[in-house]
């Protein structure tokens, strides 16, 4: 068990290292930030000075070495635009993305699991078939499209909800959240629904498949034969067992929402990390883009690792079967 965890840790470390090299070389090729920063009238000499100041005149491998040693201390340099620490800029935006992703995943689980169980229990009923057709819509429609339609309906036509931006925030220690006041929630609900639409479709499918797999099992039959009430059979015996795949997929998707938030945040001008990434790409603000990508790489790799290990711990069958 310990050996497996250590091996997976090493693998994750290797992936992060490879990705850091890829991200760094890739970003090195994007545009010339000096041209963006220097005024158009700047002389070649002044441009050279800026280049030297930023350390861009050194060879690529040397820049990478410096980058790695600084990255280990979570220092990704300062934004070319504002001069602030890139890491800080991102961390400042993180609570906004975090509350968006959390609410979105909560909605998709709260809606998706009951619908999925229903569709799994009565696969032939008309409602089940509509749920399944609806889920095709959910994951085939592009994210930004759903966002636009929600804006059109609720912001422009009905005027019930704001079309974008973040509402008033409240301080919770070092972070600010808009989740706990009505105005803030009004701003949050449309972007969260946009993300939830796609995720909900996936949760429905996973839940339905898991339910259908569980139902013919002996322990369900035995629970029924014991004369347990249907509610207990479904609520305890079925639910416990289908939670394993749902938690796995849910965990992985929660990580993906961070990346998907790029699109949704742009549509709704939500001041989160994704919007920051797009703005930084457009402005060729290399340190911020690199810092964002590195954070995402580490975050997703860790998430995969945690889900993998958690899975082994949760499900004895995996542990015994795959005794690696």
């Amino acid at each position: 068990m310990l050996a497996t965890i250590i091996r997976r840790l090493l693998q994750t470390g290797l992936v992060v290292l490879i990705m850091s090299a890829l991200v760094f070389t890739a970003l090195y090729m994007i545009g010339d930030p000096v041209l963006m920063m220097a005024s158009p009238e700047a002389t070649d000499l002044e441009r050279e000075a800026i280049r030297r100041n930023l350390g861009l005149d050194r060879p690529l491998w040397e820049q990478y070495g410096i980058f790695l040693s600084k990255a280990a201390q979570l220092d990704f340099g300062n934004s070319f635009l504002t001069g602030e620490s890139a890491m800080r800029l991102i961390l400042e935006r993180m609570p906004a993305t975090l509350e968006l992703a959390t609410l979105a995943m909560f909605i998709s689980m709260a809606v998706g699991i009951p619908l999925g169980i229903y569709a799994g229990l009565l696969p032939q009923s008309l409602l089940s078939r509509s749920i399944m057709s609806g889920s095709v819509l959910g994951f085939s429609l592009p994210n930004f499209w759903v966002g636009l339609m929600l804006i059109m309906l609720f912001a422009v036509m009905l005027g019930w909800l704001p079309a974008g931006g973040r509402g008033p925030v409240e301080d919770f220690g070092p972070i600010q959240l808009s989740l706990f006041n009505v105005e803030g929630l009004k701003n949050l609900i449309l972007p969260a629904l946009t993300i939830a639409t796609a995720k909900c479709a996936l949760i429905i499918r996973v839940t339905r498949a898991a339910t259908r797999e569980c139902l013919p099992q002996d322990y369900i039959k035995f629970a029924r034969a014991k004369g347990l009430r249907e509610r207990r059979v479904l609520g305890v015996h079925l639910l416990k067992n289908i939670m394993i795949p749902i938690v796995t997929i849910g965990g992985l998707e929660y990580g993906q929402v961070f990346a998907f938030a790029v699109v949704t945040e742009t549509v709704f001008s939500w001041p989160g990390m994704g919007k920051l990434l797009i703005d930084s790409i457009v402005n060729l603000d290399r340190p911020v883009v690199v810092a964002y990508l590195m954070l995402t790489v580490v975050f997703l790799a860790t998430l995969n690792l945690v889900v993998d290990i958690g899975y082994t711990l949760l499900d004895p069958r995996v542990r015994l079967g795959g005794a690696a």
């Binding site: 992936v15 490879i18 990705m19 991200v23 890739a26 970003l27 090729m29 994007i30 057709s133 095709v136 819509l137 994951f139 085939s140 429609l141 592009p142 994210n143 930004f144 499209w145 636009l148 339609m149 804006i151 059109m152 912001a155 422009v156 079309a163 996936l202 499918r205 993906q256 990346a259 998907f260 790029v262 699109v263 742009t266 990434l277 797009i278 790409i281 457009v282 883009v289 990508l293 995402t296 790489v297 997703l300 790799a301 995969n304």
Partner: protein, 312 residues
Amino acid sequence: MSRVVEPVAGATEAGASPRSPQAGRWRRFVAQFTSSKAAVAGLVVLLLSIAAAVFAPWIAPQNPFDLATLDIMDAKLPPGSTNYDGSLTYWLGTDGQARDVLSAILYGLRISLFVGFVSVLAAFAIGTAVGLVAAYFGGRIDALLMRIVDMQLSFPSILVALVLLAMLGKGIDKVIIALVVVQWAYFARAARAAAIVERNKEYVEAARCMALSWHRILWRHVLPNCIPPLMVIATIDLAHAIALEATLSFLGVGVPVTEPSLGMLISNGFEFLLSGTYWICFFPGIALAIVVVAINLVGDHLRDILNPRNEV
């Protein structure tokens, strides 16, 4: 859709009698496919939109790229308006540059479908080749190739495409490259899974006994039998590619303004949406949704019929 089964049937090398296995398989496939009304409707819509895209220059009321025919006085007209002498009706209204929205959609569909088909075909070719080679040779080659695939798939496609396009710049060719990069891995994984099953079958052993070269065995014998699951992936990926291209263009890193795809049209209309001029954004959006959903309906049903061993 005949491509789905033809290669499989061809591999069985049966006699040409009217009740040959090919004909039987094909008939069974058609019967299974038509059992879902939604899938048939999806296929019809898909074929109609391909036709609309191909014949756009002949059926569109106006050439939206021909600036000479545009009259700036006609900008932002609501659906159903006519131009000054009544010779042209803007059924879906006009956009900010006085382009007929319907014509713009037909031309945009051309670009969206072109990008989708080309990128999926390229990803299909590259991914399948990688997957088959990995499955056939196994060992270290397999391990290495599959590590790369795993790594690629652990990152969200939108993020990878975004960074690639930031690097490469705008352009249809660059969007296609980015889409191939994010999609080949799905084909590689599915092709490998299918080929590993096929590898141990008797016909491969027979081919080996005949001392056929490995590439002949792989491409002429194994590949045709791996096609059905790959077709499912290709269909679903086509929808994915079109949606992703639209998303990238919407974010401003996709196709250039001079060659507007559906995503670009939606992006252009977005700025007018908040002021209530909904049609510039809404109708291209509906067109995109119809195409993507139609392809997904076909793909979803194909997956049920062909039942390949792959995940969503």
